[in-house]
Amino acid sequence: MCLGIPMRIVERDGFNARCEAKGVSRTVSLFLMQHEPLEVGDFVMVHTGYAIEKMTEAEAASAWEIYDEMLAIELAEDAAMRAAADAAASPGHA
């Protein structure tokens, strides 16, 4: 939850923006960014679907480098974990 994701604004309609990161596109609310003029092409740090701060492209790129690695490992792990849990037909805990 606390891991924000840097995204680029590709389309804007009022406080709603279409944002993109690594080819994934999401609807992001710009409602918390009323103090900051934002345009298509700008980068924002997104938390649970809401932009919380503006950032530069260079900052976004360096943040992504780190996340890329972390997320890739975690996704693979999650999948492995789920598979293991299914296979074990989890007996559950008291």
């Binding site: 939850m1 609310s29 960014m33 649970t48």
Partner: protein, 376 residues
């Protein structure tokens, strides 16, 4: 921007006399530290302690019990961040102990990734009572304020378990059993609330502090800063994440949060009530307070209400009093695929993070203090 290797070199060149314990208070930080294997790269005197950085882990057991009770009502659709679904409460036998089990038993429970989804689900299902069970720190409470300010459908209510980050640190510092010598403060909390919230750490307690981002460079910069402050005995609050953290924080987010919430004394699971540490909906939002909309009377006879699951040492893990692998259940009885406590459920829980970065076995509590992880 200086690269991680250069920061490491600077850190290694510092004349550290003895052990220095640096606490972080953000699951994201702990994740970056564990993933990057930073512990193994630092001088042996430096200990990195995961502290109170997981809102899911401290969400009161009673709130989870209430959420499960709501999820079992015919008219209710319960939505929550995915992390919350597997967190166990101490329900009596034969009753669901988690939202996931409530869903398996027929409850309408849906994981969401954004508060905006709660609004959409409520609008799409006008005949249902949609309850958003929201546990989070400031970084998720700000989006919630945005959601509320944009307008709530009548059929949407909120079961709020939101907490502030700094009061847990304040409690540790006042406890007489501080347990750390320096603090790395959470970057995105400071982005929203402003770095000034953390001024009290150096100012009132003479403990070095630095706000950090989530990359190795920013984290190492913050470690260098606090270690150097420690060596020079000159504590101040450093901002090592200036790209996002600005004085005063995010003014829109703070204004909306202030309009929606008041800061109240709040219960932390396994820890107790901390003064001025929780957000509560302001009176003008009472109609959307799930606690008022539904009759959520606590059962005074319920066993272990409010407690951690039997044998789970999460509260001490959250407070940084023990490392995750010092819990006797770690890695054996408790794993991410069959978690005993909340710290093994949440992505931000220290137990889960340690397990998933390769630490799989527990060690006795009196084992040597400096754990070397990051061998994953």
């Amino acid at each position: 921007m200086t690269d991680p290797a250069a920061w490491l070199e600077r850190i290694r060149a510092l004349p550290l006399a003895g052990r220095v314990r640096v606490m972080n208070v953000c699951g994201g930080h702990e994740r970056s530290i564990s993933r990057a294997g930073l512990r193994a790269l630092l001088p042996p005197q430096v200990e990195l302690i995961p502290g109170p950085g997981c809102p899911v882990c401290v969400c009161p057991e009673e709130d989870i019990y209430d959420a499960i009770a709501l999820a079992q009502r015919d008219e209710v659709t319960l939505v929550a961040f995915g992390d919350m679904l597997r967190v166990p409460c101490n329900a009596p036998k034969a009753q669901p102990r988690s939202l996931e089990q409530a869903r398996a038993a027929g409850g309408d429970v849906r994981p969401i990734a954004s508060p905006a989804e709660a609004v959409r689900i409520a609008r799409d299902n006008p005949a249902r009572q949609v309850v958003f069970f929201m546990a989070g720190f400031e970084t998720t409470t700000a989006p919630l304020a945005g959601m509320i300010a944009e307008g709530l459908p009548d059929n949407l209510s909120i079961l709020l378990s939101a907490r502030l980050t700094w009061p847990a640190v304040a409690m540790l510092l006042a406890s007489g059993e501080v347990g750390f010598d320096a603090l790395v403060a959470p970057g995105h909390v400071a982005t929203v609330m402003g770095p000034e919230e953390w001024d009290f750490v150096p100012a009132a307690h003479n403990i070095p502090a630095a706000v950090a981002g989530f990359g190795a460079d920013s984290l190492l910069a913050s470690l260098y800063s606090v270690l150097r402050q420690h060596v020079e005995d000159r504590a101040f609050l450093d901002n090592c994440y200036p790209v996002l953290v600005r004085p005063g924080g995010n003014p829109t987010a703070r204004r909306l949060m202030d309009e929606c919430f008041e800061v109240v004394d709040a219960n932390w699971r396994g820890i107790g009530v901390l003064p001025a540490s929780g957000f509560a909906l302001r009176p003008h939002l009472a109609a959307h307070d799930a606690r008022l909309r539904f009759d959520l009377a606590a059962d005074p006879h319920r066993k272990r209400a409010g407690e951690m699951p039997p044998g789970c040492d999460c509260a001490r893990v959250v407070l940084g009093r023990i490392y995750p692998d010092q819990c006797r259940l770690f890695g054996a009885a408790c794993t991410p695929s069959s978690p005993v406590g909340p710290c093994m459920v949440s992505d931000e829980g220290a137990c889960r993070i340690w397990w998933s970065t390769g630490k799989r076995e527990c060690r006795p509590e009196d084992a040597p203090p400096a754990p070397v992880t990051g061998d994953a």
